[in-house]
């Protein structure tokens, strides 16, 4: 399931200390991003292959920028216009890219487990940039980072994850990440998109929106896919918005300092309204910034040489 220390394919095998180390490093990285000259050459001469077998502008751009801020070169490969359509297998494609000598592979794929499969078959570090409905570890880490940034800690918090839980790789990585801390996790969403068996995780299931949101220190909204309607999982987007979205809700039941998060892109008027996304409680744009910092930290942790104290002084 990926080699510990070599790859980042899942947050599951990481210890609390491992996670904290990446978040601490990301804090330094964020400082670098705020400088007028944003480049530190710590990964100069390194090449990172961004292999996106599923379209994703945001995550790919974020990883690409993270690599560039650290001075690395990137190869960007996306499934469209590639040999995938010519019947080449995933392994074959990756081996061909590998022959070009990248130092790390960042990989997004629509099949759960695909980065695990590749990680076991290539010598270079593999970063999972989202696999099917399974995991999205960098998104999970940037979410932890953002919560910690606003709350000062991850311990003693109540976090609610709401929406299309069972199809969300973000939800799974959030749960795995948060579970390493003393957080109380609540899930809320239609029964049809909840895990059939939730027993592997220490979470509470909220029955009503009010129960889900009223004590939460952070609300992690998920994106609902329109396909869920055809798959009989929700009757309509309108109905979903009414019962599982925050759009046009009175938010006075929320804690005064509760923050609202979303991995993007938002379905307007479904999960959230523009008012909420641009509003006081929203930390959504900061999540995007933090995403770059966290991905810099991930890449540096996997292929960087030397201690990160040197980064802040370089």
């Amino acid at each position: 399931m990926g080699v510990p220390g070599k790859d980042l394919v899942s947050l599951g095998p990481l210890s609390r200390e491992d996670v904290e180390e990446i978040l601490d490093l990301a804090t330094e990285m964020k400082k670098i991003m705020q400088r007028p000259v944003k480049k530190v050459p710590v990964l100069r001469g390194k090449v990172i292959a961004n292999l996106f077998f599923e379209p994703s502008t945001r995550t790919r751009t974020s990883f690409d920028l993270a690599a560039k801020y650290l001075g690395a070169d990137t190869i960007n490969f996306s499934a469209s216009g590639s040999s995938i359509s010519k019947g080449e297998t995933l392994l074959d494609t990756v081996k061909n890219i590998l022959a070009m000598g990248p130092d790390a592979i960042v990989m997004r794929h629509k099949s759960s487990g695909a980065p695990f499969f590749i990680a076991e078959r290539v010598p270079v570090p593999v970063v999972n940039a989202g696999d099917g409905i399974n995991e999205h570890p960098s998104q999970g880490l940037l979410n932890l980072f953002t919560i910690r940034e606003y709350k000062g800690t991850l311990d003693g918090l109540k976090i609610t994850i709401m929406g299309d839980i069972s199809h969300s790789r973000v939800a799974r990585s959030d749960i795995l990440g948060l579970s390493k801390f003393d957080t109380e996790i609540t899930l809320f969403g239609p029964r049809t998109v909840m895990f059939h068996d939730v027993s592997p995780y220490k979470v509470k299931i909220a029955k009503t929106l009010e129960e889900a949101v009223k004590d939460a220190d952070a609300l992690m909204m998920l994106r609902i896919q329109r396909e869920r309607q055809a798959a009989l999982l929700i009757p309509s987007i309108r109905e979903y918005a009414r019962f599982y979205g925050l759009s046009h809700r009175k938010l006075d039941m929320l804690k005064s300092d509760a923050i609202i998060m979303h991995p993007g892109p938002v379905n307007w008027e479904v999960e959230l309204t523009q008012e909420l996304v641009y509003g006081d409680r929203s930390v959504i744009f900061n999540q995007v910034t933090n995403g770059v910092a966290v991905r810099m930290a991930i890449l540096y942790t996997l292929i960087g040489e030397g201690k990160y104290e040197e980064i802040s002084s370089s």
Partner: protein, 422 residues
Amino acid sequence: MKKLAVVNGKIIDVEKGSILQKNLFIEDGKIVEVSEKEPDNSWEILDASDCYVAPGIFDMHVHLRDPGYEYKEDINTGLRAAVEGGVTRVAAMPNTNPVNDNISVTEYMIEKAEALFLAELYPIAAITMGQKGETLTEMGLLAEAGAVGFSDDGLPVENAEVMRRALEYASLFDKPIIAHEEDKNLSGDGVINEGRISTLMGLPGIPSTAEEAMIARDVLLAGYTGGKLHICHVSTKGSVEIIRWAKKRGIPVTAEAAIHHLTLTEEDLYKAGYNTNFKMNPPLRTEEDIDALYKGLADGTIDAIVTDHAPHSKSDKEVEFDKAPFGIIGLQTLLPLSLRLWKENILTLPELFKKLAYNPARILNIPGGSIKVGEPAYITVFNMEKYTFTEGMILSKSKNSPFIGWKLEGKKKFIIVKDKVL
């Protein structure tokens, strides 16, 4: 006249439920005597010291991929793997290319197998043309050509009316309908059991009800029509309970379990990561399901143990988990893995060989399967040798086994297929 004497072995009598140190005499492919008599020099002596002499294993659920998918397996390699695994007879599923829905494919399979002088092959023909679930095959002609039963295995018969008519029509020739039980709407795009592990691995799940709902439907249809129904690869607790209920009501139903469902659970899949050699349909289930299968074996709810031998090449299996085909090979691991059931006191040795040899022959209405005077000689002789199962030992073209590297106990010494010693 070929005269064979198997001496010094422990003979497993599945009908009496006993194991006796006796000699076995075979003349012209038939068992002529089981006694303490010492053979004179007119007999070819086969030494079975420190061995068990069992009725020949009859694996009634294999996929030999021939014709059509010979890059995965062919009749020759499949039957060689069978012989090496101590299997004397196999029943081959019809999901070949072309599908075995016509007598020319049935005849091709029989003729090719006969010319090889290896384990015996009994074709199972399709229930519906092209396994499309629409129109019935020419079951009478296929039975005449040598088909021993009918199955659309790999696929369920989705339309209940088609299943009803198939049960009725096959009963005219006293052949069972061998059903792969799966509600395709419920299993959807699932690739592993829905439950704890599908949550943990983020893989779409197949609910146990996808299997159980279809079994419930089909036992009701078998009860209604009186047609003989055999249920493939039972994997869940609920399925065992439904079949037990059906048998109690006198419904003509029999059932099999695949050896991997009796050996592995979804936890093993989880430990192995996204290893496609742990992907099969039905999927690996839970500890609770295995316990129910064991009870079902012990109380006779489950009649047979099979491999569901499903060869897939490296290029088929070395892909993303959801893209990989379902199925694993099993002919060479059936015997040692089955013997674990004996070692773990789930079945006695005679009970075990009832499931491996005697019952499959009864279900398919074919002679043999017992070491008894007058029966055709199908014999598996094995000892309890310990060894590590390696990829290099696999005679199948495909190496898709989750048991590579396992320490196994129990190895075929030789088999007898009528007058052939292999």
